[in-house]
């Protein structure tokens, strides 16, 4: 059972035991390195997560399951977001009465109670005060991905308004996100590669009708079931190593018909997590070449090739690599005649960044970096360049070929034709090339 729950930020403090929050704050602030998500001080166990600059903290004196508590914290954030539209310091501050109401329904005397947005709905009487988004930052999935893709204003709407506004749009969003982990060695061989994917939904459908989500026919779960053996990918089929499902998903028809039957809760939720290990067509290839020009000078030629189809493009591409400690100066030769390239040497972090706004599929870009050293130690310093890591996002493209064939909404109403938004996004998680 929880003893306390509090929300902390530099400025907002709603609630409870003043000393505990002080203890917490001091501990976290002065921790060497990243403070772990749970720790103990004098018999009090703290759990926290920091999102959007706000600490969400729970305390207990008991030896509880950490996941149990963490799940509560995450669920609370989700419900807050569902009600307030966005979750940040300002929205919490303006909606403090509403937040109190929600906390009261979710937790009673430290025991989790009504945990879903729709369960709570009938007991919440305050309405959210909306705040204007200062910038077009992420919103739909703020805690899920720091993505910059398609921030639709529609999905900032708090859910509480759905029920009583007649002119509300009837719509549902389905996102397939894939995060890529790739590790190349210096020769361009893939040492490690995996895809971590999620199917996520946010439902604004009236009356929460049952949904049927149908995926590719050739979907197989588990390498052992793939039939091809040898751990390799079977041609023409999508093999997931493993997956798990949200509470509301009925998987009875999954194996035979690749169909998920969903009773969607209000607000956003993860339908399914999946992961794929092993080889796949990596969307980018990175080729670093290091030359010793002189004892004082090193030159890095960095070639990046997009291997995905030309009708797609990647955005927010950032290529980073550390330079030797001995570095005094770094100069760049940016590809000429192409817009949207910039390179920067960050001296304090010993880091060089190359940003490319839009990276078309099938194209190759090259950056030449000249590094000047303090001492004639080019040979030793060579090792200190790299690894090269890459951040990017490719909208409307996914690597695994997992696809939503269709989304059927069961409804008895006539003219019930809600909007269905299906999006695919591929993102880098850890996309690294060793030098």
């Amino acid at each position: 059972m929880l003893s306390q729950f509090f929300i902390l930020s530099a400025r907002v403090r709603l609630d409870l035991g003043r000393e505990t929050s002080e203890i917490f704050f001091r501990k976290v602030k002065f921790w060497k390195g990243d403070p772990p998500p749970c720790f103990t001080v004098e018999g009090i166990n703290f759990f926290y997560t920091k999102k959007f600059g706000i600490f969400f903290v729970a305390t207990t004196k008991h030896n509880v399951s950490p996941s149990f508590v963490m799940d509560i914290l995450y669920r609370m954030m989700k419900v807050f977001r569902d009600y307030c539209g966005v979750l940040n310091e300002e929205s919490i501050r303006k909606n403090f009465v509403l937040i109190y109401e929600i906390i009261d329904e979710i937790i009673d005397y430290g025991h989790p109670q009504l945990m879903t947005t729709e369960n709570i709905k009938q007991f919440i009487v305050n309405e959210a005060i909306l705040i204007q988004q200062k910038q077009q930052t992420s919103n739909f999935r703020p805690n899920i991905f720091s993505s910059n893709t398609i921030p639709s204003t529609a999905i900032q709407r708090p859910l509480s308004q759905i029920t009583d506004k007649k002119n509300m749009k009837n719509e549902i969003f389905v996102d397939i996100f894939e995060k890529l982990t790739v590790l190349f060695n210096a020769n361009g061989f893939v040492i490690n590669s995996s895809i971590d994917g999620v199917i996520q939904m946010k439902s604004y459908l009236q009356g929460n009708p049952e949904l049927r989500l149908v995926l590719n026919d050739d979907l197989v779960v588990g390498r052992a079931n793939a039939g091809g053996g040898g751990g390799g990918q079977v041609v023409g089929s999508v093999v997931l190593d493993d997956c798990n499902f949200h509470e509301c998903v009925d998987v009875r028809d999954f194996e035979a018909m690749k169909t998920l039957t969903i009773n969607p809760p209000d607000g956003e939720f993860l339908v399914m997590n999946y992961r794929i290990n092993g080889d796949y067509a990596t969307p980018f290839r990175i080729y670093p070449f290091i030359d010793e020009i002189s004892q004082y000078k090193l030159q890095l030629t960095l070639k990046v090739r997009a291997t995905f189809p030309p009708d797609h493009f990647a955005t927010q591409v950032l290529v980073k690599f550390p330079v030797p400690r001995q570095t005094t100066n770094v100069t760049f030769e940016i590809p000429k005649g192409i817009q949207g390239h910039s390179a920067e040497y960050k001296q304090t972090e010993q880091l060089t960044e190359w940003a490319i706004k839009k990276f078309q599929g099938g194209v190759e870009h090259t950056l030449i970096v000249k590094i000047t050293l303090k001492n004639p130690t080019a040979t030793e310093c060579r090792k200190e360049i790299g690894p090269v890591s890459m951040n990017f996002e490719i909208p409307m493209y996914n690597v695994s070929n997992l696809q939503v064939k269709y989304l059927k909404i069961a409804s008895t109403q006539k003219n019930y034709n809600p909007y269905r938004w299906v999006r695919y996004v591929t993102q880098s998680s850890s996309y690294v090339c060793r030098t």
Binding site: M70, V125, L130, I131
Partner: protein
């Protein structure tokens, strides 16, 4: 808190869309509360509900900011008589918040709550009941009980579940009143309710109310009932049910398989708390069947990795951290082979928090096997050149773990460490040397591969005390192979001129001392000046004493000193830290809890009552089977069921403690008075076992550890020489150091020593040592005589009397049976039975020769009135009977009048 500024521009579409949105967070000075009071009164009759709401909202805003608005209580109570739920909720929030400070007025609020508990609307009934139960002050119980009673019988599940939590609140408010109700029975009935939340709340309530008795009684029907409908519950409900199931022991094997089949699909759940809960059930069910347990490991590998990666994908590192902590426990606990093929998942990513990276590295070290070692070693080597020094160090540590774990691959992997030494990055070099120290303790022959590197390391490459200690140790231990070792040590000593670090100085001393026996001509001068400066210039007693000790050891017998220091070097096969089975077993028992994350058992972080409750659960459910041992060990001094009883037990404990203290005083007395006669003989008699321990500790702590093993030997061989020396040592730890080393037999006040000795269970020869030396005829006795009471009786009947002795006892000492027993037990004469009749103590003692070739049986009477000891000896070995009596006299030591 800063003012929010113009909120108005940001708000749109709220309830008050026609009005400018109210400014809740504006700075207010004193006097504004009065204004608010006026406003509350003025607005109370206003028809516009929004206006009234806004005023209330303002009050709440003040409250949130910590401004004291408790003066508004009467107005707020009045305002609570409204049908507007929005206002009601806010007012309730206020009323509860200030109830404690306004207990008289709060009675008014109670009335409102009670009325609302009978409302038609179930939402209001629930709300009122929850608020009512949140009031915490004397006298509220009487109102509460009735309301809860009605709530528990309410038709609406929302009210019912609120009433259940109300029960818990009521219980904490007054346990006495709670016992008078039948709430507990009702709660048990409600565990079969059709509403899921009601069931869960009932279980949790019983768990909390009966916490001192180990929570809810877990019976088969309850478990089966819950498991059959587990899908009706949300993630948290399922977790609670799974936790409950993990404590349940199925009656048959079939039932066990049924439960596992039923729960298998829980592994596919996206909630880590459900999956880990299910894992716990599986592990507990299969705990005594190794084959099944292994199958479970295999089954849970994929789901755990999916949980880990999916939470990383969503950047919920908190969840990932917990899952990784559990994987870590599993791999150190034998599931490493299962995770072996998935090692790539534990490669670290550059943007992960350090707590994740650290765990992954540790896991990598454990899943390393001949099948993946090359990849893992390559990967770890990459991290060593990482910009992050902490990760680099940790990676090198992992090398150490792998080399020690995988004996067959150790040589190849260790070769990699040489590359790190040539990197010339100071923290890398330092960490590598630290790791090498441990490796060389296990694989002594590896030194050959590293000799060229050790000679070449420049000293400024080794930073931090720990690194220097490791380096010094290696130089001392393998100095004969490293040509430059004396000179490197000399340089290190020079750098440590001030002896700032006691630890390092100690290690340097030991290393130099060891090296002296290997390279005497080169080291003699270094050692001499080191000893001199340590003895002369250092204030740190431990360090100084060690130098003195070494010095005397050298003076006494160089050959012996060498034997002690460079004796056979035993290989260390396993390190305690790596083989801490007991801890892991406990963590396994506490699976899916904070213990796993903290990597320590719950008694190390839970406090007081909560800890006792946790132990009560263990005692209740795990006192049989695999974990019985773990449970027993931790539940020493178990509290009793009831708190009152627990208190009573505590009291008893206190008195026991006092008694212990008292008897300790007795002994102190006894030791003190007896010492007077002893001192005159020879101060070396004050030699106790305590200093041995002290020195052992010192050495173990500071040096490599293999010195410690030789300490007892020193004393055995050197009773005469070492005695005085060591007693000096002890006394000097408490007294100022006496420069005059010749004064070995200065009378000291050994009171403390005696007391310590009488209590310690060591075998030593302190009392009457002088006498023993004179007659010098003692028999060697075994510490483990194989005789039981039956055999004793039998022998006693059979054997003829061998000796009958009478000795005068000291008159100034009062002692008890236990004192005498303890005293003799130190001399391996053990008590079979004892008793006290008036002033006479009667004992039956027994002892057995070391080679188990003969028994000694004694009937002993100590008459404290007449101060006479009478003892009747029977033995199967009459030839050594007289010698045994010497043992006995020695045992009684100063109890006897000399």
């Amino acid at each position: 808190m800063n003012p929010a500024g113009n909120i108005g521009s940001g708000a749109a579409g709220s309830s008050a869309s026609t009005l400018p949105p109210p400014q809740f967070f504006v700075d207010h000075k004193k006097g504004e509360v009065n204004e608010l009071k006026q406003l509350l009164r003025a607005v109370s009759l206003d028809k516009d509900i929004n206006k009234r709401r806004d005023v209330i909202k303002k009050v709440i805003a003040y409250m949130t900011l910590g401004i004291d608005v408790s003066r508004l209580y009467p107005e707020m109570v009045k305002a609570s008589m409204t049908d507007d739920v929005v206002m009601k909720k806010m007012i309730y929030l206020y009323l509860i918040n200030y109830a404690e400070q306004n207990q008289e007025l709060a009675i008014l609020a109670i009335n409102t709550f009670l009325m609302d508990c009978k409302q038609q609307n179930h939402k209001i009934r629930g709300l009122a009941l929850r608020s009512l139960c949140s009031l915490r002050f004397e006298g509220v119980q009487q109102y509460l009980q009735q309301a809860i009673q009605e709530g528990l019988n309410d038709v609406d599940p929302y009210v019912k579940k609120t009433a259940i939590i109300g029960c818990v609140k009521f219980y904490h408010m007054s346990k006495k009143d709670f016992k008078k109700t039948d709430f507990l029975d009702t709660l048990y009935k409600l565990t079969k309710d059709h509403d899921a939340l009601v069931v869960i709340n009932a279980i949790e309530a019983i768990n909390e109310i009966r916490a001192n008795k180990g929570g809810i009684d877990i019976q088969r029907p309850l478990v089966i009932h819950l498991l059959n409908r587990i899908k009706d519950f949300n993630e948290w409900g399922q977790s609670i049910i799974l936790d409950l199931t993990s404590k349940y022991t199925p009656s048959t094997q079939e039932e066990m398989y049924d439960i596992m089949n039923l729960l298998e699909d829980r592994f596919k759940h996206a909630s880590s708390s459900v999956v880990l809960g299910a894992v716990k059930v599986f592990l507990h069910l299969t705990k005594d069947d190794e084959i099944l347990c292994r199958q479970v490991f295999e089954r849970l590998q994929a789901p755990l990795i999916t949980l880990m990666t999916s939470s990383e994908t969503t950047e919920s590192y908190e969840v990932s951290f917990n899952v990784l902590s559990h994987i870590h426990l599993l791999v150190v606990k034998g599931a490493n082979q299962v995770f072996e093929s998935e090692y790539k998942h534990f490669f670290i990513k550059y943007d992960e928090p350090s707590y994740i990276k650290n765990l992954k590295l540790e896991i990598l070290a454990y899943v390393a096997s001949p099948n993946n070692i090359q990849e893992i070693v390559n990967e770890l080597s990459e991290y060593v050149t990482d910009v992050n020094a902490e990760i680099a160090k940790k990676s090198i540590k992992c090398f150490g773990t792998i080399i020690i774990r995988l004996t067959k691959m150790s040589k190849t992997v260790a070769a990699q460490l040489r590359n790190f030494l040539s990197l010339r990055i100071s923290y890398v070099t330092t960490e590598t040397v630290i790791v090498l120290k441990d490796i060389l303790r296990k694989y002594r022959n590896f030194i050959d591969d590293f000799i060229p590197f050790f000679s070449k390391i420049s000293l400024d490459q080794i930073i931090e005390v720990e690194g220097k200690c490791a380096y010094a140790w290696i130089l001392g231990e393998f100095g004969e192979s490293i040509d430059e070792s004396p000179y490197i040590l000399e340089k290190m000593i020079e750098e440590q001129k001030e002896f700032n670090s006691v630890k390092l100085s100690g290690v340097l001393l030991t290393a130099t001392f060891k090296l002296f026996f290997k390279r005497a001509p080169e080291v003699q001068r270094i050692l001499g000046s080191l000893l001199e400066s340590l003895i002369k210039n250092v204030n740190e007693t431990d360090l100084k004493q060690r130098a003195v000790f070494y010095f005397r050891l050298l003076k006494t017998d160089v050959g012996l000193a060498e034997k002690i220091v460079t004796g056979s070097q035993e290989k260390i096969h396993e390190f305690y830290e790596d083989k801490n089975e007991e801890l892991r077993e406990r963590l396994f028992l506490e699976f899916n809890s904070l213990s796993v994350v903290y990597q320590k058992p719950s008694e190390r972080f839970l406090k007081d009552q909560i800890l006792r409750q946790a132990q009560a659960i263990e005692k209740k459910y795990y006192s049989k089977g695999r974990w019985a041992k773990s449970v027993r060990e931790r539940t020493v001094g178990q509290p009793d069921d009831d708190e009152e009883q627990a208190e009573a037990t505590n009291k008893i404990k206190v008195t026991e403690q006092q008694q212990t203290v008292a008897s300790l005083d007795d002994l102190l007395d006894f030791g003190g008075s007896s010492s007077q006669s002893n001192i005159t003989q020879n101060s070396s008699n004050t030699n106790t076992t305590q200093p041995i321990d002290l020195l052992g500790d010192l050495d173990l702590g500071a040096s490599s550890g293999n010195m410690g093993g030789y300490q007892p030997q020193v004393l055995q061989n050197n009773n005469n020489v070492g005695g005085g020396l060591i007693s000096d040592d002890l006394i000097n730890t408490t007294a100022a150091y006496n420069q005059n080393m010749q004064k070995q037999s200065v009378p000291k006040q050994p009171t403390v020593n005696y007391a310590l000795d009488s209590l310690s269970g060591f075998d030593n020869n302190m009392f009457g040592l002088g006498k023993a030396q004179q007659t010098n005829q003692l028999v060697e006795l075994t510490p483990t005589p194989d005789i039981d009471s039956e055999r004793f009786q039998q022998l006693w009947m059979q054997l003829p009397e061998c000796q009958n002795i009478q000795k005068p006892l000291r008159q100034d000492v009062i002692f008890q049976c236990s004192d005498v027993e303890q005293l003799l037990a130190q001399h391996r004469i053990y008590c079979m039975a004892s008793g006290q009749i008036g002033n006479e103590l009667k004992f039956f003692f027994y002892a057995q020769l070391m080679d188990k070739s003969g028994y000694f049986l004694l009937e002993t009477l100590l008459n404290q009135q007449t101060s006479v000891l009478t003892s009747n000896l029977k033995t199967t070995r009459t030839d050594v009977g007289l010698a045994f009596l010497n043992n006995l006299y020695k045992g009684f030591g100063t109890l006897l009048l000399q």
